[in-house]
Amino acid sequence: MIRLVYIIIGTAFLLLSSGTASGFERFPPPDFESGYQQPTPANPAPRRNIYEYVDTAVLLAGLSLSSYLVLRTRSRRAILALCVFSLFYFGFWRKGCVCPIGAIQNIALSIFDRDYAVPITVMLFFLLPLVFTLFFGRTFCAAVCPLGAIQDLVVLRPISVPEWLEGGLRMFAYVYLAAAVLFAATGSAFVICRYDPFISFFHLSGNFHLLILGACFLLVGVFVGRPYCRFVCPYGVILRQLSRISKWKVAITPEECIKCRLCEDSCPFGAIRAPTADWPAHDYNKSKKRLAFLIILLPVLVFSSGWIGYALRPVTSRVHATVRLADRVYLEETGQAEETTDASSAFRGTGKDIQELYAEALDIQAGFGLGGWLAGGFVGLVLAGKLIAVSLRRRRTDYQADRAGCLACGRCFEYCPQEHAKRKLAKDN
């Protein structure tokens, strides 16, 4: 109950302090009749470069500590403390930027745009969590990611999400990743940053709609653990795959599993897998046929999804400002729009040739066509892979943390009697 009160007070504070602040650039500045002396305008000094390296060092230290706490100490309380630190440092202090999730876009743009260079610190922010995941599992998600941390703190009354729904919803993260890379690679937009639901909280100011979006995520997060991490986060998609092959992994129990089932409901993220029974023969044969069918279906799914991505290029390319401008100018030129916009007026003011603008927009749209094939194909491949995975059965004799889905939060440790026995033994000794 006390925790609920804290959460409500905390959320109310964030909402109130994140109110929208808007303003006009005014010319001339307003007069004041109260004798107020207008201060001399001054621009804040840019952040010193050294702090970027400090941030990177803190990230490295956070990842190391998180990995140690998850795999060696196995202390939920310590993980939670690190979680709170990360929320305040990377979230409220560093205002959620730069973050590895958004860095996907910097990397994508740098690959496709030779004029765009990624700062070394952004590169490190992107790579370090990946490297740590390869060795230790998703310890970045556990206690270092500020987006994960803010959600982790509001998990109050978790309900279990059916596996079929979980898998279906997770598809959105793959689509989001494909879209984010497509828009970043074409120089259109950094959509991950644009739609970051918690950025308004971290900045303590921002767009009202994003504030609402963030509040909705937190509200859902009270019942569905970390909804952004599980169903939206594009970086999580990459971490999932790396975590599958990580050298070390989170173990629910430090000793042999006694199948007490106490841990079964401890995970708010649905990442604990129960032991499996033997596969009945008729199910096995049915699954084998289904698997064969799905493998044949795979190229069809990849191709059809790719084609959908290609066919959507008139829509997707409108995210690019040049395409939007060309559309607008075309409407004005053909009399379908009477008034000009600021952008179209500015374009006309430059004296540039309209045909050149149309040609540039067509070029960009062609890029979206190719990108649409790749992004759509990727989504189709993932979809086919998920369907194939349903037809496969892994044999489990113990309760195990799902290697891809486990966020290494450490909640299950506290439920394991073997863990308690080990700690008692250690204490007695």
Partner: protein, 346 residues
């Protein structure tokens, strides 16, 4: 039974809450204005209407346009000056053109570069300022002298000539160069010197005007401080007047007045850019009246003032006066000289 019912009800409630949150989140994402076309969403009371500031009380307008505007024929105009006989000199397009009061073209002097400022001395010699140096021509357009270059940073914007002295405003170096009539540098005026209580000029844009008053003091505009300062020829700051205000009595915008002239009765004619206003102030800086405002200068009236913003910033109007009190305004947008005379009884 009751426990199971309560559990079922709780699940339904949670489901409804989640569904509502998801719907609200989707609406929030869809309604997110990523291109800014929906504006700020703030009400009318938050809109700062510059058009209102452009409206000037007609009772304050003391002048009227007396004759048709003189078309300079230049594509780009820079400055004007009027000689003691009432002839009008306009600078622009690598030339100086001389017009009669009627608007007839009396002559043209071709120049090697784009002139930025000019003045006509009492003896009829025409002083023409280029970016970095100054040239002197006689009334027939023959070049008499070319003075030393004042450095790469120099941006000359105004010249004033008295009996034995020539003052040149340099916006690039934020200083006034004081020469004798042979071109020998005497001193520099206006450099920051707190021992002499001189704060230095604030010149955010290349508009920096000066004139010599009948009281023997040099008047220099300090547009960044929205004032006009009075200096002795030795460079001592005597006094200043003017201040910032969007109201009619002050100078508005980032940096005004951009140009000024001194009438025979020692009143000042000031010219502002952005919100284009030509006004009269007495020798102490008190507001006297308006020559013309945005409604007179901008086609379509006050409502189009904002559209003239960038243009007005790029090419401020220049002003000059003659001995009979007429005011000449160089409209740099249209390339014409507009002549204003005081209304009778005002």
């Amino acid at each position: 039974m009751n426990v199971r019912l309560a559990t079922a009800n709780t699940k339904v409630l949670i489901g409804v809450l989640i569904a509502a949150a998801v719907i609200v989140a989707i609406v929030a994402v869809v309604r997110l204005d990523t291109t800014g076309k929906r504006g700020s969403g703030l009400g009318k009371e938050f809109v700062y209407d510059v058009g209102d500031l452009a409206k000037i009380d007609p009772n304050l307008i003391l002048y009227k346009e007396s004759t048709p505007a003189i078309d300079t024929g230049f594509t780009k105009t820079q400055a004007i000056a009027v000689d003691s006989e009432g002839s009008i000199y306009a600078a622009g397009d690598k030339a100086i053109r001389k017009f009669a009061e009627s608007g007839n073209l009396l002559g043209e002097t071709r120049l090697a570069g784009m002139p930025r400022c000019l003045t006509v001395a009492g003896d009829g010699q025409v002083y023409v300022g280029f970016k970095e140096h100054l040239e002197i021509y006689d009334a027939q357009g023959k070049r008499l002298a070319t003075w030393q270059r004042l450095g790469d940073d120099a941006v000359l914007t105004s010249i004033a000539v008295s009996k034995n002295d020539v003052f040149v405003a340099d916006a690039g170096n934020r200083i006034v160069h004081h020469f004798d009539t042979t071109g020998k540098l005497i001193n520099r005026i206006g450099a920051r010197d707190m021992d002499r209580n001189i704060p230095g000029f604030v010149i955010p844009s290349p508009y920096f005007d000066l004139a010599v008053g009948r009281d023997g003091l040099l008047r220099v505009s300090d547009p960044g401080r929205h004032r006009i300062e009075a200096y002795t020829f030795d460079g001592d700051l005597e006094f200043s007047w003017g201040g910032f205000s969007a109201g009619i009595e002050g100078f508005c915008g980032c940096c005004n007045p951009v140009n000024f002239a001194i009438l025979a009765d020692e009143n000042f004619v000031t010219c502002e850019k952005g919100l284009i206003r030509v006004k009269i102030a007495d020798p102490d800086g008190a507001f006297v009246g308006v020559v013309a405002g945005p409604e007179q200068f901008v086609e379509g009236g006050a409502s189009r003032v904002s559209e003239y913003g960038p243009g007005a910033q790029a090419g401020a109007f220049d002003v000059a006066v003659d001995t009979s009190g007429r005011i000449f305004v160089l409209d740099t947008h249209k390339g014409v000289v507009r002549i204003f005379t005081r209304k009778k009884g005002e």
